[in-house]
Structures are given as structure tokens and as C-alpha cells.
Symmetry: C3
Subunit: 150 residues, 3 copies
Amino acid sequence: MPLGKYRFITMLSLLGLLFASFIAPAQAEGKVFAEKKIVLQISDRDPFKQKLVLNVANNLLKHYGTDQVDIEIVAFGPGLRLLFKDNSNSKRIDSLVNNGIRFSACSNTIKAMTKMLGQPPELNTNAVKVSAGVVRILELKEQGYELIKP
Amino acid sequence: MPLGKYRFITMLSLLGLLFASFIAPAQAEGKVFAEKKIVLQISDRDPFKQKLVLNVANNLLKHYGTDQVDIEIVAFGPGLRLLFKDNSNSKRIDSLVNNGIRFSACSNTIKAMTKMLGQPPELNTNAVKVSAGVVRILELKEQGYELIKP
Amino acid sequence: MPLGKYRFITMLSLLGLLFASFIAPAQAEGKVFAEKKIVLQISDRDPFKQKLVLNVANNLLKHYGTDQVDIEIVAFGPGLRLLFKDNSNSKRIDSLVNNGIRFSACSNTIKAMTKMLGQPPELNTNAVKVSAGVVRILELKEQGYELIKP
């Protein structure tokens, strides 16, 4: 029965797709059903920019709704200071993390700062190290994230 | 007459398209026939950045021609100061508005500054309020605008 | 022999394509086989930003490999200072140029600075003048370059 054979193959394919769709969430790094994907860049020295990037993240959550927007904040260069353990905004960072926002710290910057300080800077426990901040941003853009630098 | 019927439906569709094309200009917010659509972001504290964003807008007008480029300048965070009534660049803003450039002011920033100042900041009469500067930028990007932050 | 005729036309077309592919490298401005094309913008006054944009360029070379990434650094506004002959980073610029990175200087900014200084600023010999920095950036984006402003 050739028809039955095709049906079997079709069913196998559908099962495969189904299986893939169950696996996908584990591979994806952000909110799977978010309609908007945004990467915010912080690389400035001006401490006010740290506040601004958090304000922007907050406004995005308010506008789109927490489940509808997937936000990653990538810090590199002098902007890494936002992710220092003793940064004055760390409570706001915690609250944004609770709303699903991710914070990425540039390993190249960490290495450079370690040389300068004589020891590695203590980072916010919510910060996730990425190889290079700019490379992370390019990866996210490829995945359809919009880049905003507040 | 099936042919006549199809012709009738085709004509109706064409009329619909024609109608839509007349309506479109009213819905569009910018220069309809511009070949380039650009959104300029101003969110810095440095007053020199205010001059720079206006210089860039001017250079774009000169390069592409006033009718060929559609420019919106979105101000938020400390960059909103560009759109204060008493800003030193207000005459240049007027002249750019006469060339079809639009200026958008972030309502979230206005709210925050109102709290700080005890009263709402007086804005340039050319400024058009938008809900959030960053959301406006994302909307424009979706409509095909290129984002430049001078 | 119609078949022969078609074969002849096909061969001519293939020759044309072949010829075009040999010409292409001469017209292209960057690394032809690079998988990544990135334009870095420098338009800030803060001298640290000059270091940062060179660090970012260096990190990109290290991450993707010199032959796999095509980088152009476009300087305009106060950022043009990076391309002044006596800029403290000029040795690093030379080394980046040796790795295929291009440096573009905004002619509009040069004109404005010439007025201010009473004479044209002396530029790094590696700097290539472009009409307007922002127009150059838009051209590169159209060619598939990703814009990053460190």
C-alpha cells in the first residue's frame, strides 16, 4: 500500500516537527513567544547612561507587556560598570531580571579591567559572561533582535 | 457571462487599489515619495550632540535633496532638552521643520522631568509628543527607516 | 543547428558571468570573501571613545579572523579627531590598516573644522575622505554592513 507508506513518512515528519518544537524552547535564549526582540547596548562612561538604559528597558516592558518583549542588555567597555557588584543600580537590575531581562558582560572588557585593577572586578551575580560584547550584539541582530543604544 | 463577471471583480479590485493609493498619503506620516527614510536619535546629555544631530539632518537634506529624504528626529532622556522652548538651537529647528523634518518628544521623559522640575517643561511648539521615544524609533524601523544616532 | 546556437549563447553568458566575477573584486571596496561586514561609527567628543572603537575593531578581527571580517570605521563630527595626524592612537590605526581595516573621514566635518581652525586639519595619511560620514554609513548599510557605534 503505497498510500499507507506515504502516510507513515508524513506522520514521521510531523512527529519530527513536533519533537523539534518541544526542543526549541530549551535552545532559545530568550522569551520564545515574544513579538519584539531588542538588544540594548551600554558602552558609555557617563553614569547617567546606566540609568537611561534601565529606564528604556522598563519603558519597553511597560509598553509591550513583560511576556511580549525579549530584552538583552549587553555591557562592554566603560559600560561594564553597570554590572559591577557595587553599582548603585543593582536593585533595579535584580527587578528587571525578575521580568526576564538578561544582562551580558563582555569578557574582553573583564580581561582588560582585570589587568588594570590587578584583580578581576566583582560582577553582579545576574551578569552572564559573553566572549565579546560586540560579537554578542551581532549574533543577536542575526537572530532578529533590534539594536538600540540609549 | 462568466468573463464579464471576472472583469467586474477585476475592475472592483482595481478601484479598491486606486482608492487605497489615494488614502495612503493621508495615513503616511512622512514624505510619501522620499527614497530615503531616516530616524535620528538624540538621547545624550552633551549639548554638543544637539548641534551634531541638527548638522547631520542638514547634511542629509543637502545630499539627498529635501524631497528625497524623510527625516524624523526622536528625542528622549537628557536629549529631550533639544526640544525645550528656550533651547539655543530653536531657530535651526524651525528651519528644519520648514524643510519637512519632524521632531518627536518622548512622553515618558516629559513625565519624569515634570516630577523633577515640579512642572512640565515648556516645549518647542514644533515638537510632537510620542508615547515613548524608543518605541517610536522601533515603529519607524519597522516602517523601513534607518536608525542613526549621531 | 538550433541546439548549437543555444549552446553558444549559454557559453557566452557563462563567459560574461566569469568576466563579471573577475571584475567584481576591483569594484568592491572591502574584503570580497569576508563573511561579516561591519561599519563602526565614531562621532563622539570623549577621547576614550577613540580607544574604544579601535578596541572593538581589534576584538572583531580576533573573533572572526582577519580575512573573514570587513570593517570600515567612519569618523564624523568631533569623532574626526581620531583621524588627525597627531592623534595619540595613530600607531594603532596603522596596524589596523595593515589588517585591512579602512578609515573614512567626513568631508563636511573637515570643511567645518577648516573654517574653525583657519586652515584644514592635518589628517592621518590612512584616512580616506568621503562626502558625508552619515551618507557613507547609509551606503554601507545598503551594501549589507552592520552598523555598530561603540
